[in-house]
C-alpha cells in the first residue's frame, strides 16, 4: 500500500484537454495518467505514451497456437494413432490447416485478452482507487504526482490557467488491493469531490 499525493485537474472539453496535456508535459510535470469517459484518438501520442506491445504478445501466442496444433496433430495422426481416412496419407497437411488456423486464432485471442487484463490490472475482486468517479461519465481527469519539489499552489494555479474546471490536491492509493466494490463502500464515500465540480 502506498498512498501518494496528487494534483488532480478536471476538464470538461477535449479541445481544452489536449493543449493542457501538451503544456503540462512541456513545463516538466510528469503526468500520472489521464482518465477519460471514452477513448480519445491521439491522446496517447500527446501524452507521450509508447506504443503498446500487446500486438507482439499476440503474435507470439499465435505462433504458439500454430506450433501446438501442428505438433499435436502430426504426433497423434502419424505416430501415436495413425488412422486411414479415405486412403489419404497419414501426414496430410491440407486437412489440418483449418484446425491449425482455429487454434492460432484461439491462442492469440485468449492470450491477448488475458495479457490486456494483466496490463490494465483488471480482474475479479481487484480494486483500485479513483481520482474522480465522473471520469466514467462526463469529465476528463488529469493527475500528476506531487513530489517534495513540487510547489503545490503554483501547480494548482498553473492548471487553472490551462482551463481546468476544478483543481485539487488529493491523496490516493496507487496500488490495487483485493476487495469488493459492493461491500466496501469507502471509495464511494468520497462524494464531496464529485459534487464539488
Amino acid at each position: 500500500m502506498s498512498v501518494k499525493k496528487f494534483i488532480v485537474g478536471s476538464f470538461d472539453d477535449e479541445a481544452v484537454l489536449f493543449p493542457a496535456v501538451k503544456k503540462v508535459r512541456k513545463t516538466g510535470y510528469k503526468i500520472h495518467d489521464v482518465y477519460t469517459p471514452f477513448p480519445i484518438h491521439g491522446l496517447d501520442s500527446t501524452m507521450g505514451l509508447r506504443d503498446t506491445s500487446l500486438h507482439t504478445a499476440g503474435f507470439i501466442y499465435a505462433i504458439t497456437g500454430t506450433a501446438t496444433a501442428l505438433g499435436f496433430i502430426s504426433w497423434a495422426l502419424t505416430y501415436d494413432w495413425p488412422l486411414n481416412f479415405g486412403g489419404k496419407p497419414f501426414f496430410s497437411l491440407p486437412a489440418w490447416i483449418p484446425i491449425t488456423f482455429e487454434l492460432t486464432v484461439l491462442f492469440s485471442s485468449v492470450g491477448m485478452v488475458l495479457t490486456f487484463c494483466y496490463l490494465c490490472q483488471l480482474a475479479p475482486f481487484v480494486k483500485k482507487d479513483h481520482f474522480n468517479l465522473r471520469s466514467t461519465d462526463d469529465l476528463f481527469i488529469m493527475a500528476f504526482e506531487c513530489t517534495e519539489k513540487t510547489n503545490e499552489t503554483e501547480a494548482v494555479a498553473f492548471l487553472q490557467t490551462l482551463g481546468a474546471k476544478n483543481v485539487k490536491v488529493d491523496y490516493r492509493e496507487t496500488q490495487w488491493w483485493l476487495g469488493r466494490y459492493d461491500k466496501e463502500i469507502k471509495v464511494f464515500d468520497k462524494k464531496t469531490e464529485v459534487a464539488a465540480v
Binding site: H41, F59, G86, P94, A95, I97, P98
Partner: protein, 406 residues
C-alpha cells in the same frame, strides 16, 4: 498551405512509360514470330494465352480501382479523398485496356482454334460441354464481354465526372448532400454491375472456361481477390511515387497505413479462397475436379503454384504485419511490387496449364508483354492525372481525409 495542384508529367516518367510499352510491343512481335505465326495450333495457343493472361489481368487490376472508389463511396468513407484522384486516374485506363482485351478475347473465340477455349468447337462438343453450351457459346460470350466492358467504362466515367465536377467551387451543405446522394446511387449501380461481372460471370467466361470441363464456385471470388489486392498495391505505388515527387500534400502515412491494411487483409483473403478451393477438391478427390490441379500441383506448374503462396501469402503476412511496416514508404513499395508480380504469376498458372499443360512456357515473353501493359497504365494514368487538379479540395468529405487518423 499552398498545394501543387497540377501534375506535370516528368520527362523520365514519360520516357519510362514509352520504353516499357516498346518492350511490350517487341515481346508481342517476337512471340508472334516464334509462336503466333506457327502452323501448329498449340503453338498459336501459346501466343494467344499470353495475350489473354496479361490483358485480362491488367484490365481487372485497373478496374479494381473503380471498385475501391465505389466501395468507399457506398460506405461514406472520407479517408481516401486526399488521394482519390489517383484511383480515378487509374480507372481511366479501363476503356483502353478494355478495348485491347475485347479484341484479344474475340480473336481467340472466333479465330478458329479451339485449344484455349475448347467450347468454341461447336461441332465436336462432348456431353459435358453440350450441357454447358447454354452459357458457354460464342454469342453469349461476345455480347456479355462487350456489354461488361462498356458498362465498366461508362459507369466509371460517370463517377469520375462527379468527382471532377467538384472542382467548380465550394459547395453549400444542401448541395453537398445532394452530391453525395447522387454519388451513392451511381456507385451502387456500378457495384451491381461489378457483382454480376467480376464477382461471378466474367472470370467464368474469360478464365475458367479455359478448363471448360472443370468448375469451381470459388473461382470468381478468387480472381476478384487476386486483382483487388493488386489494384490496391498499384494505388499505393502511384501514391508513393507522387508523394516522392512532392504532390499529394494532404496524404501522409496515416493514409498509407490504410492502404497497407488493405494489401495485408486482402492477401490473407486471397489465401483463404486459394486454400478453400484447393482443400475441398483435395478432400473429396473426384477425378473430374482434381483434373484442374493435376498440372498445377502434381505436374510441371508445381513450382509456380507453391511459389505463389510464398509471394502472395507468407511475404505480405510476415512483412506487412507490423504497424511500422505499413507506415513505411520503402516496405510498402517493395511489397506492392511483389504483390503485383505474385498475382500476375497467379494468373499465369490459371491460364497457361490449359493450352500447355505438359510444359511451362518460357516466361520471358509474358513478362515483356506484362511490362508493356504496365507502361500503358503509366502512360494513360499520368495523362489523366495531369488534366485535372490533383486534390479534390471541394469534396464534402475532404476535411475528413485531412484529419484522418488511424
Amino acid at each position: 498551405m499552398s498545394i501543387r495542384e497540377h501534375f506535370v508529367i516528368p520527362q523520365r516518367y514519360k520516357l519510362w512509360s514509352y520504353a516499357l510499352m516498346a518492350v511490350g510491343l517487341v515481346s508481342i512481335i517476337l512471340l508472334y514470330v516464334t509462336h503466333g505465326s506457327s502452323n501448329d495450333e498449340h503453338e498459336r495457343a501459346r501466343f494467344w494465352a499470353s495475350l489473354l493472361q496479361n490483358s485480362v489481368f491488367f484490365l481487372l487490376v485497373v478496374n479494381a480501382s473503380m471498385f475501391f472508389i465505389c466501395a468507399t463511396i457506398l460506405a461514406w468513407g472520407g479517408w481516401p479523398m486526399s488521394f482519390r484522384r489517383v484511383p480515378e486516374a487509374i480507372a481511366s485506363v479501363v476503356p483502353v485496356i478494355g478495348i485491347i482485351s475485347a479484341a484479344i478475347l474475340l480473336a481467340i473465340v472466333f479465330g478458329g482454334d479451339h485449344v484455349i477455349y475448347q467450347w468454341t468447337d461447336e461441332k465436336h462438343l462432348d456431353e459435358i460441354l453440350q450441357y454447358k453450351s447454354g452459357f458457354l457459346n460464342k454469342k453469349f460470350f461476345t455480347i456479355w464481354t462487350l456489354l461488361t466492358i462498356f458498362l465498366w467504362w461508362i459507369l466509371g466515367k460517370k463517377i469520375r465526372d462527379f468527382s471532377i465536377s467538384t472542382d467548380k467551387g465550394h459547395m453549400e451543405v444542401e448541395e453537398g448532400k445532394k452530391f453525395i446522394w447522387k454519388n451513392t446511387v451511381w456507385a451502387a449501380l456500378f457495384m451491381i454491375v461489378f457483382a454480376l461481372t467480376v464477382m461471378s460471370t466474367i472470370p467464368w467466361l474469360w478464365l475458367m472456361s479455359i478448363d471448360a470441363h472443370w468448375y469451381s464456385t470459388m473461382y470468381s471470388w478468387y480472381t476478384f481477390a487476386s486483382t483487388f489486392v493488386s489494384g490496391m498495391a498499384l494505388i499505393a505505388l502511384f501514391v508513393i511515387y507522387l508523394k516522392n515527387k512532392g504532390y499529394l500534400e494532404y496524404t501522409n502515412e496515416e493514409h498509407l497505413h490504410d492502404l497497407g491494411k488493405f494489401m495485408f487483409a486482402f492477401s490473407v483473403f486471397w489465401t483463404y479462397l486459394w486454400f478453400s478451393q484447393y482443400m475441398l477438391i483435395w478432400y473429396s478427390n473426384q477425378p473430374e475436379e482434381t483434373k484442374y490441379f493435376e498440372p498445377r500441383v502434381e505436374g510441371v506448374y508445381r513450382g509456380i503454384f507453391f511459389l505463389n503462396i510464398i509471394i502472395n501469402f507468407l511475404a505480405p503476412l510476415l512483412l506487412l504485419m507490423k504497424r511500422g511496416a505499413k507506415r513505411n514508404y520503402t516496405t510498402v513499395t517493395l511489397l506492392a511490387v511483389l504483390i503485383i508480380f505474385g498475382h500476375w504469376l497467379d494468373f499465369f498458372q490459371m491460364v497457361h496449364p490449359g493450352p500447355s499443360g505438359d510444359h511451362v512456357p518460357m516466361m520471358m515473353y509474358d513478362m515483356g508483354i506484362g511490362l508493356g501493359f504496365v507502361g500503358l497504365i503509366m502512360f494513360v494514368t499520368g495523362r489523366t492525372l495531369s488534366r485535372n487538379p490533383m486534390v479534390p479540395i471541394n469534396h464534402p468529405f475532404f476535411k475528413e481525409s485531412v484529419i484522418h487518423h488511424t
